[in-house]
Symmetry: C3
Subunit: 357 residues, 3 copies
């Protein structure tokens, strides 16, 4: 069998740093029709409880024709599509930027995904480099449902030329004006169904929310989730291979950590019914089976949406923390410096505003 990398013939061992050049495009394999079955599996794996995604009458009362698929299930499936071409030989997922949730996905929709290399930077040791890509997921009608940038450290096949440097400019945030079209949305039905009266007006910048739940992660759970996303990165599945990495064991896919934190945050952010954008974020430390995850949110800002008195955006910092009670976590802890902080995400959600009296 012809196994030499060639145009249209992805090498079995995946691509290495040398294979990426700015402007190279990938049409990722295996489009995916998302189903009610995926939605159910996602609930079983994460405990997600947003009524918008699991109660059809609520979704219809909010202006949707059916339950849209959970934003992060869409994100993780779309992300999974990119893995064989972009991060199969990734050493680390370094960060996200400019992640836009542009249109709802419904059961029966088919997601396809493509990426373009927008930056490369060899590491000085020549053994690896950073690859920046812009990815877009589209539905069966060609409409964009999700676009995002991410950068990963990728192993070099032999030696990466350290002179290779083309770092892209990435926006520090997704401005509210670039959010998806929520014009047909009637958000208040959500509040009736979440059991919480907390609305946009009840949160203020600086508020800290320590969500009470915790979730201990098991090998089966994170592998099942990552398989559901058809993400093939070997580090999540192959314990024998993992013995030779720096940790000696399988790593949990970071997108699953985001999903679990989002599910845990329902208690306290009950009416944050949709993710509009992820401005940036890092998986600050690895997560392993046996770790127990907790989630803290810090309110960054309250933002108005043009022309909307019934719904606003909350910009939030999501901290995923492991193996420590949140009340024992120093409030000033910036993600990067604390080995117990595994996730530090800057993102915006939509929340109903209090109705005018």
């Amino acid at each position: 069998m012809n196994d030499v990398p060639a145009p249209g013939l992805r090498p079995l061992e995946g691509y290495f740093f040398e294979d990426y050049a700015v402007g190279r495009r990938f049409e990722h394999a295996t489009p995916r029709t998302v189903t009610e079955g995926d939605a159910a599996a996602y609930i079983a794996l994460t405990g997600a409880r947003q009524p918008l995604h699991c109660a059809a009458p609520v979704a219809r009362a909010m202006g949707y024709r059916a339950c849209p698929i959970d934003d992060l299930l869409v994100f993780n499936i779309a992300f999974g599509k990119t893995v064989p071409d972009i991060s199969y030989n990734a050493i680390a997922n370094l960060g996200y930027a400019d992640v836009r949730f542009l249109a709802p996905v419904f059961a029966g929709d088919t997601i396809a995904c493509a990426s373009e290399v927008i930056g490369v930077k060899a590491n000085s040791n020549g053994k690896s480099g950073v690859v920046y890509v812009r990815s877009r997921a589209t539905n069966q009608d060609g409409a964009e449902v999700l676009t995002w940038s991410r950068w990963v450290m990728v192993a070099a096949r032999s030696a990466a030329d350290p002179r290779i440097t083309a770092i892209p400019e990435l926006p520090p945030e997704v401005p509210v004006s670039k959010f998806g079209d929520f014009s047909r949305l009637t958000p208040h039905a959500s509040r009736l169904a979440t059991g919480s009266a907390r609305c946009w007006d009840d949160y203020a910048p600086g508020d800290v929310i320590d969500h009470p739940g915790g979730m201990t992660l098991e090998e089966s759970d994170h592998m099942s989730a990552t398989r559901l996303y058809q993400n093939t990165a070997r580090i999540h599945f192959d314990a024998l291979l993992a013995k030779s990495n720096q940790f000696g064991k399988r790593l949990i896919y970071g997108g699953h950590v985001i999903s679990v934190c989002r599910a845990l945050s329902f208690d306290g952010l009950e009416n944050a019914f949709a993710i509009a954008a992820i401005h940036g974020g890092t998986h600050a430390n690895p997560t392993f089976a046996g770790d127990t995850l907790y989630c803290r949110h810090v309110v960054v800002s309250r933002d108005d949406l043009a022309g909307r008195k019934d719904v606003g955006a909350l910009r939030l910092r999501m901290l995923g923390v492991k193996n420590v009670e949140l009340r024992k976590l120093p409030p000033s802890a910036a993600g990067e410096k604390n080995p117990l902080v595994v996730l530090d995400l800057d993102y915006s959600v939509l929340v109903p505003k209090r109705k005018a009296p």
Copy 2:
């Protein structure tokens, strides 16, 4: 963020004994549209095999328009809805009574749930008390599909007033006349599909059925099931928190134990196609990951349904037993006294009668 308990604002840490007063009502959050995906996940988690719930032609031949959702999946989802308001701070689930399965639920139906406090009793130490609630699950048309009473021991926020005592009268059984409407049911198709000729007439009071299967429970399995039910009780998920409980580890949600026992009992109760009522029951001992479950049934009585010669009810005692071969379990063991008995349930199923010659 306003986190002080207030009307319409569930406290993040849940309710405590002092928050419950007879007559207080809760409209539970997050209604749930049950789907074919949930049904598949349930099979994967329990091994359930009743053809009524997984073979559409059988269901139609029995008079249903489609496969109804497994009775216990409905029960566990409905139960899960009540947890944030009723048992988030429960120390123990003490018992069930008057559980009525009133109407079938089909894929696409949406379950909502409400509860009313019907009794409270402070414990003499003041640290906790017993809360009795009556809960009802309705579908999108407002029809009752399941109603039940349960009582739980709930921690007190500070000190429970030991003078508080209002113990409700709970019926010792659900009389056959209060069973749901099975008038359109044509049960015999079930027998063709289960591979068993055993019918109502073949069971007699006192019969003991030791079901041959056993199921070893894993952390991932019970957590996935409990997440599928959107049950948020922390004791099932948070291993770090659980270290400080009396067992030092996560407890398995009792409803999952019932589901596994029901699935194991297919071999021997093949034609017990529907649960009509649970008269009472207790989780006699806790179950943990690593335990292996077995199930014994004892036939309590055979009951006629008014006007039906083709189907009858069997009242059964379900014993869930762990880590011991059933043949080594003393036949006289009453649930409460044997640490190996984890479940003792008094309930009624429907079984086809032998056709008149």
Copy 3:
């Protein structure tokens, strides 16, 4: 309860060698309506990525009316139906022959299964014997979707008469002329969706493909899969019972091993979109939780399908290997002799041919 084996009354402990006579037929219990939920659960459990089975537009472009259910999900569900009657007391699954995938199964179809005993052979020690059965799975219209032969070693109830010997003739292969009807198939859409240009013409007899992925198996995963298939063989579920077997632990159901190997083989066999037949195969060694599976394929032959220039068959040898990097596996290893080889399957897949220039 009447628990003596009788016509129409399967014994609770299953059948033993003495119960099988050539010509005895079993209509297996619990037909199964396969759903999108099952398909999602299967992806979560195996990581399967064939776009034919998860991308509806691809399936339609290939001539199907919807995504057909994964061939091996159909196989495992059908196989599971036979377990209570055929292999409940099996000591070992010895082999498969003449497995034909005859028609696609779609979500909503209901699979029923029947078997006939085609051979028996008592072992000389009298404690067990080999039972050969021919099984057929049909859909709700009575059309055959899958037929297969297998033979299993079954325990004897008391003492098997060593004179009992009736060994059937089993065909060494399924000839291409006996493959299912693929006449309406337009295979090239598959190549557009798999991200690989590899086609039938790119493989040659003797080619060895070491698929790069590996999958560590967990107890929850294999039990969930086996429950999804409603396979009730106790050896997969009951750790307490398993303590007394020769390995002292639960064995993983062999069909799950095939499914995982098939999923791993996507990278390298991207366009092998359908399994047409399994000519033969053995589970050469047992697999346990904690094992890491890898998959090697060896190309046996390229076969033409009558009248088709656009699609051909590849006959392949699938080797499932555990706990060793494939590059360290001697290339000459025949399955039976190497304790690290757990699966050795001889089967045929369909692959698009290169388009004429």
